[in-house]
Amino acid sequence: MSKLQSKYNKFHKTIKISQQDDEYKKAKEKDDLILSKIKIAFKEEGYPVKSNFRVGSFAVGSAIKSICDDHSDIDRAIVISEEDSPEDPLAPKKVIKSVLKKHGFKTPLIKKPCVTADYESKPIHLDYTVYKKLSWCGGYELAIGKEQSNEDNKYWDESEPKELLEWINNNVNHKSFLFDLTNDEYDQFIRIIRYLKRWRDFTYTNEKDRALVYSIGLTIMAREQFVPHIGDDGANDNKAFEDTIRNILNEGPYFISKGDDKYDLEVMLPVSPYREVFQNHGVTVGTKLYKQFSKLLNKLEKVEETRSLKKQCEILRDLLGDDFPEEDVSSKASSESAGYVGTTNVA
């Protein structure tokens, strides 16, 4: 299985975006520029930016290169103080929209939780969320509302963005109370998230369907059901992937049968406001996702049973796309040498 693990590693290297990648650096440049303009604009409006922090896949460390639109997503939280914050949660979001418009982003859109926009000349996609920090407890409230929302749908909603990141990034093993995840196991979890997101992007060819299979929903399910597999013969990402999907389908509380092969999907945010991630379209997403997960599981099981590396790669290329490497008998594992490292060996 370890030759297959080499393939997984190569695949992972291909799909991941890290802070060292050019895609990230370009997006960050733009993000830094927009952020500075937002800071000026907010100050002029009387609610200066108190802090900001990264959220989303870059904060989790699970960002992947998109195969759909070739965009780099950057998600950022903008925090203002409770005292300065306007009553209307839409007001700061409109300011952000205006800043984005002025700086080359096409058709910025105020969505219910955020302001989102694509850059016109570069493949960069930005999402900004606005929070007010509560002075009495240090908690956050998220600015909710679209431009056309009535008063009932515009409000500041309790939220725990940092706690969510902490929940994903800590080393609690939700499947075993005996052991926390080791660093190597956590790294394996991050790889599984990336595989899962790439699988979604590859499997859901319809953009609308794909957009509804939220990354945060996949991340929460995978985080809760992750089963590490690292033994003395190395990591086995395929087995970890397989067992995690099996647990999501069979052990997790997520898929609720509605008869006629229909499934509702319920994934709760593990932090405040503890809302249901797939609310309003649980059955639409759940029915299809259940089928696709079942197919995925079946194929991963076949990979485990198959001895031929060639066939294993073929199955995984069918599942994950052409970025998963083909079997290449002539290629040997090779990496640039570190030159020397300090070891702990003594005698």
């Binding site: 370890s2 003395d232 013969d233 190395g234 990496s335 490292v341 070891t343 702990t344 060996n345 005698a347």
Partner: protein, 576 residues
């Protein structure tokens, strides 16, 4: 025996219909065996009820030789052997039952010995040495016989005990062959035997007996026994002894007997003394001119000592090369010697330093000497059946061993140098040149977290480089994937700015690492494994945590402590 227990026992014996009486503090039990009444005395001695009661057969000399019942010259009582107290778990809360069951056992033994002549004879021959000891009344220092089992008659020398000491090795008389000894010359007992403080040398010979007669009965003299035994010897042997006697005169002479019995070889001796120098008593004519006394012999031969001490005779033929005689290599060498390995080749380019004290098996008085040569001296002093060669110190690094001709002469090579670069280079040489000698690489990690041993069996898959495949990337790595400590941390310490650095670990860590290597070595030498393996021992993280040292996933998840784990990685670009 406490008075209340004494009363309860006698009351119980009466209830059971046992005939008893009390004489002084002893309970005397009478029992009828085939028309004769024997008497057993339960004396007030021993650990009873925290051990078995002691039963002595009265009027012992009257019954002659009896299996499992001793006798002595001082009194007419013989102890009935009903079991070794240390190996028995007694119900000391029920002393009456304990006493009665032991009594039943004692009566059974006496009955069998008296009533079953064939059984009695067989058992006496089986316990020949113990019965011989009953005859021994020589106020002599014990004899250590460092003589191998040889057929016929063999000339020996007895080095007398030192007169100045009353304890320790000097207190023993040591019997040596006249020519080459099977021990190495540096062995401690041999050195002691040849010391000048042993002023007297006595003549002696060993004699193999094929038709062993029963040992002397109580009141039978050794002279009578020897005549009886001599007559029973083959005519050829009698003739040889006669010739020997004709040409050898002495005032003190020792005859060392050895004979195969069902439980092994029985060794015993006779000390022969005469006021004047005369022909030694190896013929019937000479015996009455001598005073003969039975003596016990402690046998110190390879066949006797090695198995008794847990060593394996088969390993005597094996030759093991140990490269690296530091704290781990030193312990491995010692452990292999204790296991019976007969031949070592030691190599280390280093000198023993005063700083090595505590961690090293060597004594600090070896300071400034070659580690390999010092280890040779120490091991040969301790273990008799051992040959050690040492590598020239100039060619003692691991890389100097990259020669097929050198490696082919060993049954096993053990590398305990703790240098990953040299080890990997050596491994590549082994694999690329198809050297068939198995190799064990062993090292420990500091801070008490553990240690590792890797057996590479060239006849099977797997090599040291398989341990240098990163577990996550599955690519070649410069850090072993067996490690318990994350690489790239500052682990070495210096003390007082001395310029030299050291890794904190204890001698126990070195010993534990040596143990897993030695066990693998023995399994390999005994051809019990048949594939490449790794074994790790995992300590604890206390010291590492206290020093903010990061430990690996393997440490945190490792649950195969001391278990053999097959070694082979298909990504290995050296062996695959």
């Amino acid at each position: 025996m406490l008075p209340d227990i004494h009363d309860k026992i006698t009351q119980y014996l009466t209830e059971k219909g046992v005939s008893w009486e009390v004489d002084d503090d002893s309970i005397i039990i009478s029992h009828n065996i085939q028309g004769q009444t024997i008497k057993l005395a339960a004396d007030n001695e021993g650990k009873f009820p925290h051990g078995l009661p002691v039963f002595r057969l009265l009027n012992r000399h009257h019954y002659g030789l009896m299996a499992h019942i001793d006798w002595n010259h001082d009194n007419d009582k013989g102890t009935v052997c009903i079991g070794h107290t240390d190996s028995i778990s007694c119900d000391f809360n029920s002393p009456v039952i304990l006493f009665y069951k032991a009594l039943e056992n004692a009566i059974d033994i006496v009955t069998k010995s008296l009533a079953d002549t064939a059984y009695n004879k067989t058992e006496i021959l089986n316990e020949y040495v113990a019965h011989w000891a009953c005859s021994s009344n020589v106020d002599e220092h014990s004899l250590i016989c460092m003589v191998p089992h040889t057929a016929g008659i063999t000339d020996l020398v007895v080095r007398s005990a030192s007169k100045q000491t009353t304890c320790g090795l000097d207190h023993y008389q040591i019997i040596l062959p006249k020519d080459k000894n099977e021990c190495n010359d540096g062995f401690s007992i041999l050195q002691n035997a040849k010391d000048n403080k042993r002023q007297n040398k006595h003549k002696s010979c060993s004699l193999e007996i094929n038709n062993l007669q029963l040992p002397p009965a109580p009141n039978e003299s050794i002279n009578e026994w020897w005549k009886k035994q001599l007559k029973a010897l083959s005519p050829k042997l009698q003739s040889d002894l006669k010739n020997k006697s004709r040409i050898t005169k002495a005032k003190i002479f020792y005859i060392i007997f050895h004979s195969k019995i069902s439980s092994g070889t029985a060794w015993f001796s006779i000390k022969c003394t005469s006021k004047t120098k005369q022909r030694i008593p190896l013929t019937l004519d000479e015996i009455d001119n001598w005073k003969l006394d039975a003596c016990e012999v402690k046998v110190f031969s390879k066949e006797n000592i090695l198995p008794r001490g847990g060593g394996q005779l088969d390993l005597q033929k094996k030759k093991v090369c140990i490269i690296g005689c530091g704290s781990i290599g030193g312990h491995i060498a010692n452990q292999l010697c204790t296991s019976g390995v007969g031949s070592l080749h030691l190599a280390d380019p280093d000198w023993f330093d005063i700083e090595n004290t505590y961690r090293h098996v060597l004594n600090p008085n070896k300071c400034g000497l070659s580690k390999a040569i010092s280890l040779k001296a120490e091991l040969e002093y301790t273990y008799p059946y051992l040959t050690i060669e040492t590598q020239d110190i100039k060619n003692s690094s691991l890389l100097d061993f990259r020669e097929t001709k050198i490696l082919d002469q060993f049954d096993l090579v053990i590398v305990a140098v703790g240098s990953p670069t040299d080890e990997r280079a050596f491994n590549e040489f082994m694999v690329k040149n198809g050297v068939l000698t198995p190799v064990i690489y062993t090292w420990l990690e500091g801070y008490g977290v553990g240690g590792h041993s890797v057996l590479v069996d060239p006849a099977t898959d797997g090599c040291l480089s398989c341990c240098y495949i990163d577990n996550t990337s599955c690519e070649p790595s410069l850090s072993p994937n067996l490690s318990f400590i994350e690489g790239g941390q500052v682990l070495f310490r210096n003390q007082g700015g001395c310029g030299s650095q050291f890794m904190p670990y204890s001698n126990l860590d070195a010993m534990q690492t040596a143990l897993i290597a030695s066990k693998l070595a023995l399994r390999s030498l005994n051809e019990e494994i048949g594939r490449s393996m790794t074994v790790s021992w995992k300590g604890n993280s206390y010291m590492a945590n206290a020093n903010n040292i990061k430990l690996t996933h393997r440490f945190q998840r490792f649950d195969k402590n001391l278990q053999e784990i097959p070694l082979v990685r298909e990504e290995c670009d050296v062996c695959q």
